[in-house]
């Protein structure tokens, strides 16, 4: 279980990264915390000529607080979010989610950007950031773009980045003071990926209600009629029945339960951070 040999470089800035990517024409890969890429390199599931380490790049290691949102650099680690080293726009919801990713050793190195780019269907940030209506900030050679997280993730383990683009970070809107939030995931064991997960986000002031489920083997699924799910007029079972026609009984039960439990968290815990 040893990777094929590769070159390793630490670029000065994001421009150098995208130039390197461009020249390599698909034979180089960005590495951040190496928590997902490392095992795949070792298993030779991924073979690359070069690794470009963005883990120390100042541009992706920063956090910027704006009026309506907070920009969190792609290179910010789960542990830094968990510990409150960077500002949590949601006053605690993100910290809590970060603290339940894997175990501390993985959180110390794994990054929010790496997690989104790797796009494991069961990963926490995928569903949490989808639920929060966050945006991915992407830098290319000549231009930047900003797209909703749910569009950034295009499928299981696939994202919208072009060969010569880097994810700079995510922009997370600040919920209003009365917003309600529930995130629940089913893991049998501490540190394992979720078997089923659900978020519910209800911000009356901003007129946003979102409900998503994760760990589906595809990107998180935003459910229709989230308001009705939140107010109870649409049961979780009915809400997902149409969207997931061919899942087996046990799996459906777990997803339904995940929504029910996320709902109960959201209803019983109103303000952000409580």
């Amino acid at each position: 279980m040893k990777p094929v040999s590769f070159d390793y470089s630490v670029p000065e800035n994001s421009l150098a990264v995208v130039e390197h990517l461009k020249n390599a024409q698909g034979t180089a890969k960005i590495v951040a915390g190496n928590q997902s890429l490392g095992p795949m390199l070792n298993l030779r599931l991924v073979r690359t000529n070069a690794l470009i380490d963005v883990g120390l790049l100042a541009e992706v290691r920063k956090c910027v607080v704006n009026q309506d949102n907070v920009f969190i650099g792609a290179g910010i680690t789960h542990a830094e979010i968990e510990d409150g080293d960077v500002q949590d726009p949601t006053n605690g919801w993100m910290r809590e989610a970060a603290g339940n990713i894997a175990y501390r050793a993985v959180r110390s190195r794994g990054t929010i950007g790496g997690s989104l780019c790797h796009a494991d269907p069961a990963a926490d940030w995928l569903i949490v950031l989808t639920g929060l209506k966050a945006f991915a900030i992407v830098q290319g050679l000549s231009s930047n773009r900003k797209l909703p997280v749910e569009n950034f993730i295009t499928g299981p383990f696939t994202n919208d980045l072009k060969e010569d683009e880097i994810l700079m970070g995510v922009e997370v809107p600040k919920p209003s003071a009365t917003a309600k939030w529930g995130y629940w995931k089913f893991m049998r064991q501490v540190g394992e990926f979720a078997k089923a997960s659900a978020v519910i986000y209800h911000d009356e002031h901003k007129q946003i209600t979102r409900c998503a489920i994760g760990a589906l083997g595809r990107q998180p699924l935003l459910l229709h009629n989230p308001e009705k799910i939140f107010d109870g007029t649409l049961t979780p079972a009915n809400a997902i029945k149409e969207s997931l026609p061919d899942r087996d009984f046990a799996e459906m039960t777990m997803h339904v339960t995940a929504i029910e439990r996320a709902l109960s968290i959201a209803r019983n815990r109103s303000e952000p951070g409580k």
Binding site: M1, K2, F186, Q189, A250
Partner: protein, 785 residues
């Protein structure tokens, strides 16, 4: 047997801190992977990606021919053969590298050698093998069907061995009023010692010797096996097991990889090594526990067990492994299924079925874990049928204290114990209050349940038991060599291997008890064929009884010789001398044991004329009073909660009542029990290597193969009973495997207790959320019987 009451605080019975932990806790253990030799080459194997296929062609790319080896290169090397003498046993030969055919995924086909592992893997990447795929035998239940492709062409069906025992069955069931029939299934598992398998081999011209460092539980057996396969005299082979990071049976085997490394070291004249990685471990090492049972239990209206009948299939995989063979598991099923119970009649058929899976190996507890699961679930099923409590039905049918020693229906000689007391104590210790309180407060989607299991464990069984199996290894006398050093220290040499059992401490405690030399001055030497007497090694919960007995026997002889010299030096008679606090004491005077050593080695003019010329070095052999084994036993009691919406099972309280006979070191016994219970929880709830219909193992990383982790384990309360065994030196009984045996049965019984009101019963492990949810949904739809 010696009187356990006479023990000192730092000898037998003391919780002496483990001497070996000093180096382990500081990260200074020395494992095979820590060995660096100049010019060492590394091996990467190309393993079969298919479960069953003919090999058509192997392409070695140009330029790497010298570094690539296939079966045809291994001139005069034989494959591994491990036949059983049981009538009807079908023989298999496990090739060192597969030549014409592959029989399971992960079987080594080509070996690539380079200066490091990465480079060897690069070469392995470039090898192309053409296969002609054959249908895979992936399901033991249909493996023997006519018309199936044969895994071994010369056989008539895919089965190593069938056995059939029947005792008094038809008469016994005449008055049966409760008859319960169940099908049980256990999963194929991967034993998971922290250190994988590992070999470093080196040829030494000066000694004309092949030295093989191997992470093995049985260095002497590996030497014999290597000798047979390589055609090299045993005297030209030295096998060393340095620190070994856990075994559990996974390392109780002669490996094809070991044979290849030995051959390669001789061929190249350079040191070579192979370290198993986790992927190799998971794809080619899922090799234990897979059983299928059809069991019928018969009881009369008072709950008295009349008889049990069983048809058991063991998925033995593709080859018979060395030295335990392909049928040890099934042989144990037939002989141990009745457990600690009395019954009038019994019959059991077993099939050691061959499949295209890795060959089955005995894992801690061997068949007992599966057997205990089957038997204890039948007992609970009978209890439910008869409206009795799980405790009452057990008390009614267990062998009673006053009946000991007891010969059971399969002729097992239970040496001693009070099984009913163990059940009583476990039922008292479990936190029923917690259960009641939680039951009142638990919400609609949670159910709580209580479960019991009890079993006895034959350990340290010897010649008379193993000669019946007729496998390559039959244990006889266990030997130990003791040497008093010139400065009064003691070297204790044993042929077993310690890899977590704490034998460097417990064997020292025994020698210390007998000779009064401090444990810190005693060096236990093990795991090296050059230094230690022959032994079948560490398996079968045998070391503390057998090696411990041997150390005791040798100590006794050494004590006599010490006393003889002491008597001369003290002008006393040998009978007067006692050994105490490192001294030989006469009535009025004393002399340090170190001075006696000094006299023998450095001032022989001081010795008596008739001193024993064999000096202060002793080798003695030992057997238990009868070699049918000690029977330790345990009762496990557990409370679980089942989440009805997620199918998730949580353990709330866990109690083990354990009788290891006389405990040489209670702390070490606790450690063995705790580790075993953790593995048993894995078996009960998490561990499973699924194979698809093509015979592909479906979990290739630890993200898919779930081992129990710290947070899955509740605090485990251990209660000791100490009924000495009448057949061992101090009354000690084998305890090494025990912890891993009881949990699946107790946990499944607790889950079934929780789900009984819903009409649901689960008879398959591991009990995963999807299995629970499936069972709940079929019950809802009225499908559950």
């Amino acid at each position: 047997m010696k009187d356990p009451k006479s023990y000192r605080s730092n000898g037998i019975g003391a919780s002496v801190k483990r001497l070996e932990d000093d180096r382990y806790l500081r990260g200074r253990g020395k494992f095979v992977g820590d060995i660096r030799l100049p010019g060492m080459l590394e091996i990467a194997f190309v393993r079969s990606p298919l479960a069953h296929a003919n090999i058509k062609n192997i392409h070695k790319p140009e330029g790497v021919e010298e570094s690539v080896f296939i079966c045809e290169d291994l001139i005069s090397v034989s494959g591994i053969k491990a036949d059983s003498g049981l009538p009807g046993f079908k023989s298999s030969v496990q090739p060192i590298l597969a030549s014409k055919k592959v029989r399971h995924v992960g079987e080594p086909v080509v070996a690539c050698v380079a200066k490091n592992r990465a480079a060897a893997e690069d070469i392995a990447d470039s090898i192309h093998i053409e296969f002609e795929e054959l249908p895979a035998i992936h399901d033991m239940k249909t493996a023997m069907d006519a018309g199936n492709p044969l895994i071994h062409e010369s056989w008539d069906k895919n089965c190593f061995l069938e056995t059939n025992v029947e005792t008094n069955f038809d008469e016994a069931i005449i008055s049966a009023s409760s008859i319960v029939k169940r099908t049980f299934q256990t999963a194929r598992q991967c034993m998971a010692p922290m250190e994988g398998r590992a070999v470093v081999a080196q040829w030494d011209d000066q000694l004309s010797q092949l030295t093989v460092h191997s992470a093995t539980q049985m260095p002497h057996i590996v030497r014999t096996g290597l000798s047979e396969c390589l055609g090299l005299e045993e005297g030209k082979i030295r096998v060393v097991a340095p620190d070994v990071g856990g075994g559990f049976g996974y390392k109780g085997i002669l490996l094809a990889e070991e044979v290849f490394a030995g051959w390669l070291a001789m061929k190249t004249g350079r040191p070579v090594r192979w370290l198993e990685d986790r992927r190799e471990h998971l794809t080619s090492g899922a090799n234990c526990r897979e059983h299928h049972y059809e069991v019928v239990g018969y009881a009369d209206s008072t709950g008295q067990l009349l008889a049990v009948s069983c048809e058991a299939i063991v998925d033995s995989g593709a080859y018979s492994i060395y030295p335990f063979s392909a049928c040890l598991e099934a042989a144990q099923v037939a002989s141990i299924l009745p457990g600690p119970y009395k019954m009038l009649g019994y019959k059991c058929k077993t099939y050691s079925v061959a499949t295209n899976k890795p060959p089955i190996l005995p894992y801690r507890g061997v068949a007992r874990t599966g057997v205990c699961f089957a038997m204890e679930l039948i007992m609970d099923a009978l209890a439910r049928d008869l409206d009795m409590s799980p405790k009452d039905i057990r008390i009614k049918n267990l062998v009673k204290k006053h009946e000991m020693p007891f010969i059971n229906i399969t002729n097992k000689h239970f040496d001693s114990g009070d099984y009913c007391e163990a059940v009583e104590r476990a039922s008292t210790a479990i936190d029923f209050d917690k259960l009641r309180v939680r039951k009142q407060n638990c919400n609609a989607n949670e159910k709580l349940g209580f479960g019991l299991s009890i079993f006895c464990e034959q350990g340290a069984h010897g010649t008379s038991v193993y000669r019946g199996y007729g496998i390559p290894m039959v244990p006889g006398f266990e030997q130990s060599n003791l040497r008093l050093t010139p400065d009064g220290g003691l070297e204790v040499r044993v042929g077993v291997q310690s890899h977590g059992q704490g034998l460097e401490t417990t064997l020292a405690q025994i020698a210390s008890q007998e000779l009064s030399i401090e444990e810190s001055k005693i060096k236990v030497v093990h795991g090296d064929t050059a230094y230690t007497p022959y032994s079948t090694g560490t398996w079968g919960s045998r070391c503390i009884v057998m090696a411990g007995g041997a150390v005791s026997a040798a100590s006794e002889v050494l004590a006599k010789r010490i006393k003889k010299i002491a008597a001369h030096l003290l002008q006393a008679s040998p009978e007067e001398i006692i050994l105490k606090d490192g001294k030989a004491q006469g009535k009025n005077n004393e002399i340090a044991i170190s001075d006696i050593a000094h006299a023998w080695y450095r001032q022989p003019h001081l010795l008596p004329e008739d001193v024993d010329p064999r000096g202060l070095e002793v080798t003695e052999g030992y057997k238990t009073v009868r070699d049918t084994g000690t029977f330790s036993y345990a009762c496990h009691a557990v409370i679980v909660s089942v989440d009805l919406e997620l199918g998730n099972v949580k353990i709330l309280d866990y109690v083990v009542v354990e009788d290891a006979g006389t405990m040489i070191n209670p702390m070490v016994v606790d450690g063995q029990v705790l580790g075993g219970v953790a593995q048993g929880v894995g078996t009960a709830l998490f561990e499973e290597m699924p194979f698809d219909t093509a015979g592909q193992p479906m979990a290739s990383t630890l993200a898919d193969y779930h081992l129990p982790v710290a947070s899955d384990l509740p605090p485990i309360q251990i209660i000791h009973m100490e009924t000495p065994s009448p057949i061992s030196r101090y009354g000690q009984k084998g305890i090494g495997e025990s912890g891993a045996i009881g949990p699946p049965a107790a946990i499944a019984n607790a889950v079934n207790d929780a789900l009984a009101p819903l009409g649901v019963e689960i008879n398959q492990i591991p009990i995963t959320p999807s299995r629970v949810l499936k069972a709940l949904s079929s019950a809802k739809m009225g499908l559950n019987s």
